[in-house]
């Protein structure tokens, strides 16, 4: 997915990708969010998740670290927080070109379901999204969760990393562990 720079409207570090979706929705943003994982040990160190929006509704997703597109990219974004977020505004004509690529498209409510779990936001997005968009991809909300759970390598990477982190913090915080 090649995107021009666009106009930066927000830059901050956040724990929860759901905040991005809420902000884009409330601003009715046409543009994209760049979510750079702060956890460089997981996935690709240069991995950046990109979510595009039209009038605040999520349309497409891509992950540069895993080369995943669409629903799968949402999964990769979801498993690698906290993030450094940058939110950009783009001309609608540019996003239209990207949104023509079916491979990248996601069901409008899926990122909110997967990244925020906020049922209110999910409902609001569904309500506002054009009906034709809802039909462009199967709206099975748990696809991304199931895909994530089927990816044993990814799950193991998260567990291994957490174990290493917990052990190193035990040393830092003087907590007893099974190993000490």
């Amino acid at each position: 997915m090649n995107l021009p720079q666009g106009e930066l409207i927000r830059r901050r570090v956040l724990e929860d990708a759901g905040t991005v979706l809420r902000t884009a929705f409330e601003r009715e943003l046409t543009g994209f969010a760049r979510l750079e994982s702060q956890d460089t040990l997981l996935l690709d160190a240069d991995g950046v998740g990109v979510l595009t929006f039209e009038d605040g509704i999520p349309v497409a997703a891509y992950h540069t670290g895993t080369d995943a597109a669409g629903t799968e990219a949402v999964t990769d974004i979801g498993s690698t927080g906290p993030y450094r977020l940058e939110l950009y505004e783009l001309d609608g004509e540019i996003t239209e070109q990207i949104h023509g690529d079916e491979r990248l498209r996601v069901p409008p409510a899926l990122p909110a379901q997967q990244l925020s779990g906020e049922t209110e936001l999910v409902d609001q997005i569904r309500e506002r999204a054009p009906e034709t968009w809802q039909e462009t991809a199967s709206d099975t909300s748990l696809d991304a969760v199931e895909q994530f759970l089927d990816d044993e390598q990814k799950v193991e990477a998260i567990r291994d990393h957490a174990r290493t982190e917990a052990q190193s913090r035990a040393d830092e915080w003087n907590f007893p562990t099974d190993q000490t």
């Binding site: 779990g117 748990l142 982190e165």
Partner: protein, 269 residues
């Protein structure tokens, strides 16, 4: 204030088990779950719930204790004894935590082990409502102190991902996993498949799948735990089912108290 049971139950070995209710992420309904499990377990056991989320306390709002002056903050700050912060509510002993920044600043989180040790002498089950982060020492402490954790998950990738992290932290610190509880499950979610797939990675069992419910929000507005406000709701029934799956392990309360008092955690943070 009331007569503290610790002083009346010292000569017999009572069972006591400490659970931390945890999730790496906020918004999963940890406090609702802690109180619901507590109330359900209270039909069989003597239960004490403690709000150990000292930075983002909210149990007092769920239990009608928002005007309470003495809370865990004061105990951790050395200004009050444990029994002064215990309130009998909804069939449980509740130790809420305050919300003031000053209270948080003055609280010494390492005193928590002394609080748990003291309470352990007079109760069967202790539930610690944990912080929604693994980023600080005081947030992780309840997971270190507990015998087992109950992991509260929403069926989303970030929540499950964070739940996996919590589990690995717990295991690293020698704390077992009692099971996972899927919360805020909506009708359009194929939760059974997700739970089965998740089970491969989590220790313990799937305790319950609690449906998303307006009743939960209504209970919070009414400053009551879900099981007190909407006992007949499907969500309440799911929590009772979860509590039924939790077999409380017998342990000598004196030994447990000693374990907490002697926990190898220095007082300086």
């Amino acid at each position: 204030m009331r007569v503290f049971k610790y002083y009346t139950r010292t000569n017999v070995n009572y069972m006591v088990e400490v659970f931390a209710v945890a999730s790496g992420k906020g918004g999963t309904g940890k406090t609702t779950s802690t109180l619901a499990l507590g109330m359900a377990l209270a039909t069989e056991y003597d239960v004490t719930v403690i709000d150990t989320d000292t930075g983002m306390a909210n149990m007092l709002f769920h239990t009608g204790l928002s005007d309470t002056e003495t809370t865990l903050h004061e105990v951790l700050g050395g200004q009050a004894a444990v029994d002064e912060a215990i309130y009998e509510r909804f069939g449980m002993d509740v130790i809420p935590c305050g919300t003031s920044l000053a209270g948080f600043r003055e609280a010494d989180p390492t005193r928590l082990r002394e609080v748990v040790a003291t309470v352990a002498g007079g109760t069967d089950v202790i539930l610690l409502d944990s912080a929604a982060t693994l980023g600080t020492r005081s947030a992780v402490l309840p997971i270190v102190l507990a015998d087992r954790i109950v992991i509260v998950l929403q069926p989303t990738v970030p929540s499950i991902s964070d739940g996996l992290k919590v589990q690995e932290y717990a295991k690293t610190y020698g704390t077992d996993v009692a099971g996972v509880l899927f919360n805020r499950v909506t009708e359009d979610e194929n939760i059974d498949t997700v739970a089965t797939k998740a089970q491969r990675y989590f220790d313990g069992q799937t305790l319950a799948k609690v449906p998303e419910s307006e009743k939960v929000r209504a209970a919070r507005r009414a400053s009551k735990p879900l099981l007190a406000h909407a006992a007949e709701s499907a969500a309440a029934a799911a929590y009772r089912e979860a509590a039924g799956e939790l077999t409380v392990r017998d342990a000598d309360s004196t030994a447990v108290a000693d374990r907490f008092r002697n926990a190898v955690i220095p007082d300086e943070s």
